[in-house]
């Protein structure tokens, strides 16, 4: 396994608000809980021993309800909020150890940030907003203009560069906010509830566009959100926080399958199962599968015994080729299966969500194949299996 070195490493991050933070830290480290420390010293615990990694090119969603510390956590990464204890590394740089000047330099070159309320500068045009980071770096005007225009085009705001933020809709303003962060070509994007202030439809578009953009630009993104559906739409790993601590990290499907505690279980209760559970999770071994040189008569016998709706056919290498139904087999006699194939595309990759599986099932003949990366047959999902999978989740979450 080639484990990539994480781009961002957060270790033991702790933030205590208030003048009493140095009195409070030892108490916290001695194992007192949040309420006890607050009672004893008056200090408020914002973050407690938060650790996680963000791999290069990953979208990590830091999720939690308001007051969970997720925004504080994000701001500790570029030290807009000064952590009380713990460390943040970006590649080999210890962000927490930097002096003021180096920190400024790091913010200028490595981080782009996008804010919930956009935080565009109202007295500057969109172009001058997007240029801002480059201007602060001291990039000459012509060069920064080109880069800014390119970023504006990337986010689909071409032609709006001379407008002021107040002349744009919320969605467009946030595109400008994203362009401002992208213009610097930073390695890391920090996004604080970036789409929460937008209308639901626009939010969904922006999520999809961000995922597409991410595939192209390969940025490392830390995305703070309170919305589980958003976390799922962005498709990455999730760090779930509560009361300043990490409750669980993993994919949404992990949360669903193995919730760390009651809180996580309740958090994922209303999750859209079809969007989270993958075909690989729901598949089962096929009961009727034959290589394509077998004869129809032989296949018919197996199919009848198996109770499967169709015969699944593979090649010599075990790759899925298509299906043949019972009527065709009956009429074909001794013909080879390879001549009878239909539904050659009745398959989904293992990582596809059940949403995609449902769409395939609806247009097929009651069963689809699940394949690996090279097209190898891994399992099948029939209509009944899908219903069973859904029912199982319901039973689990309803408990």
């Amino acid at each position: 396994m080639s484990e990539k070195k994480p781009r961002i490493r957060v270790r033991g991050l702790t933030k205590i608000f208030g003048d009493e933070q140095h009195a409070a830290l030892p108490l916290l480290q001695a194992g007192k809980n949040r309420d006890e420390v607050q009672k004893a010293t008056g200090a408020v615990i914002g973050l407690q021993d938060v650790s996680f990694d963000v791999a290069e090119g990953e979208i990590l969603v830091v999720m939690g309800l308001s007051g969970s510390g997720k925004s504080t956590c994000l701001r500790c990464i570029n030290r807009l909020i000064e952590p009380t204890a713990g460390s943040v590394h970006i590649d080999d740089t210890d962000v927490t150890a930097l002096g003021e000047r180096d920190l400024m330099e790091l913010r200028r070159t490595r981080f782009g940030m996008v804010f919930q309320q956009f935080a565009l500068f109202p007295h500057r045009t969109i172009l001058r907003n997007v240029e801002y980071g480059l201007e602060v770096q001291g990039v000459p005007q012509a060069a920064r203009r080109d880069k800014a225009m390119a970023a504006i085009e990337t986010v689909g705001l071409k032609g709006w560069d001379q407008h002021f933020p107040s002349q744009l809709s919320g969605g467009m303003q946030q595109r400008a906010g994203l362009a401002r962060a992208l213009a610097l070509d930073p390695d890391v994007l920090l996004m604080d509830e970036a789409f929460s202030a937008l209308d639901p439809l626009i939010r969904r578009d922006m999520q999809q566009e961000l995922v597409a953009l991410q595939k192209r630009l390969k940025k490392t993104i830390v995305f703070v959100s309170h919305d589980l559906d958003e976390a799922i739409a962005l498709g990455g790993r999730i760090v779930l926080m509560k009361d300043g601590r990490v409750v669980q990290q993993g994919t949404a499907a992990d949360f669903l399958a193995n919730p760390a505690d009651e809180y996580v279980r309740r958090f994922v209760e209303h999750i859209d199962v079809l969007g989270v559970v993958t075909a690989g999770d729901a598949m089962r071994p096929p009961m009727a599968v034959r290589p394509w040189q077998s004869s129809a008569a032989e296949a018919l016998e197996i199919l009848t015994q198996s109770g499967e709706p169709v015969m699944t056919v593979v090649c010599e290498l075990g790759r899925f080729q298509g299906t043949v139904d019972a009527d065709t087999l009956r009429r074909a006699g001794a013909t080879e299966l390879r001549l009878l194939l239909s539904d050659r595309d009745a398959s989904v990759p293992r990582g596809a969500t059940l949403n995609e599986a449902v769409a395939r099932l609806a247009s097929g003949r009651g069963e689809i194949a699940v394949t690996g990366p090279d097209g190898a047959l891994l399992g099948v999902i029939a209509n009944a299996d899908l219903i069973a999978a859904l029912a199982r989740r319901r039973v689990e979450t309803a408990h």
């Binding site: 200028r108 804010f115 935080a119 500068f121 007295h123 045009t125 801002y132 980071g133 002021f164």
Partner: protein, 284 residues
């Protein structure tokens, strides 16, 4: 039983402090006074020397460029009225004094306001000072002004600067401190230095508020210029002062109304500029 509680010799202390300051600094301040006084007089004489209709038209054009034709028309009519009342010379004297004092008040007040916004400690020192400058009866400033600057326009200018500066300081500081925190945070997140933050974000956003301070400073300067007539500043205030001494009510009101006209003109112009800047920011 009676206790003799000795009076605190506050007045004597103030005198001692002033005498000491006069002894040590009056040489410098008198020299400054000579230069500034000459500048004020030359400017006034130059303007008075020009044909009034030319000055009025020039002012009208300038105001038209800066604001709207309505305000420009008002300015021209107002000045023509003052000319008609044969108060033209006095008007120009007052106007020059107001503009010079305001220029000094802004040149000193805006940097102090910025410093006060950036440093909490500095604000703690400046704040009470401003309260005192504003609550002290304005006449009091006239007395020490004389030993430092002598009778006349420069003393008036000094007293006016002290009296008119506080709103500029206050509103500059307020405007900067009122920058929305999310914008300051965004500026920080992109690695702005303190000065970049100030000049690229905070000051531009504070300009409408600062302009409100400038407007107040001009109004206060005008009111002080009138009072300063008591130490020989002349101008429209001088007309009022003479009317008081001779008990000529009509003359007094005439000069008073002239001051009101001048005040309205100056107020409309600065208000319009301030308002326009605020709208600019919202609409582009």
């Amino acid at each position: 039983m009676e206790f003799e509680i000795p009076r605190i010799p506050l007045a004597e202390w103030c005198d001692i402090a002033l005498d000491w300051a006069t002894e040590h600094f009056s040489g410098v301040t008198r020299a400054m006074s000579a230069v500034i006084g000459t500048a004020i007089e030359t400017t006034t004489d130059f303007l008075v020397g020009l044909p009034p209709w030319l000055v009025i038209l020039a002012c009208g054009l300038l105001v038209w460029r800066l604001t709207t034709w309505r305000i420009a028309l008002g300015t021209v009519l107002g000045f023509a009225f003052l000319w008609n009342l044969e108060l033209w010379r006095a008007t120009l004297q007052s106007l020059v004094l107001v503009l010079v004092s305001t220029a000094f008040a802004l040149a000193i007040g805006i940097p102090i306001g910025i410093a006060a916004a950036l440093s909490r400690r500095f604000w703690r020192i400046v704040g009470p000072g401003l309260d005192m400058m504003q609550t002290m009866p304005s006449f009091v400033y006239l007395i020490p002004a004389i030993p430092f600057f002598g009778l006349g326009a420069v003393s008036a200018c000094f007293a006016t600067i002290v009296f008119a500066m506080p709103p500029t300081i206050r509103l500059t500081a307020l405007g900067i401190l009122q920058t929305p925190p999310e914008l300051v945070e965004a500026a920080d997140a992109f690695g702005s230095s303190r000065w970049q933050k100030l000049f690229k974000i905070q000051l531009p956003l504070a300009i409408p508020t600062i302009m409100a301070g400038v407007n107040q400073t001009i109004m206060l300067a005008l009111s002080m210029v009138v009072i300063a007539a008591m130490i020989g500043a002349g101008g429209l205030g001088g007309e009022v002062w003479r009317a008081i001494q001779r008990l000529e009510a009509g003359q007094g009101f005439q000069a008073g109304i002239a001051i009101v006209v001048l005040a309205v003109i100056l107020d409309r112009i600065t208000q319009h500029i301030a308002h326009h800047m605020r709208r600019d920011r919202q609409q582009g």
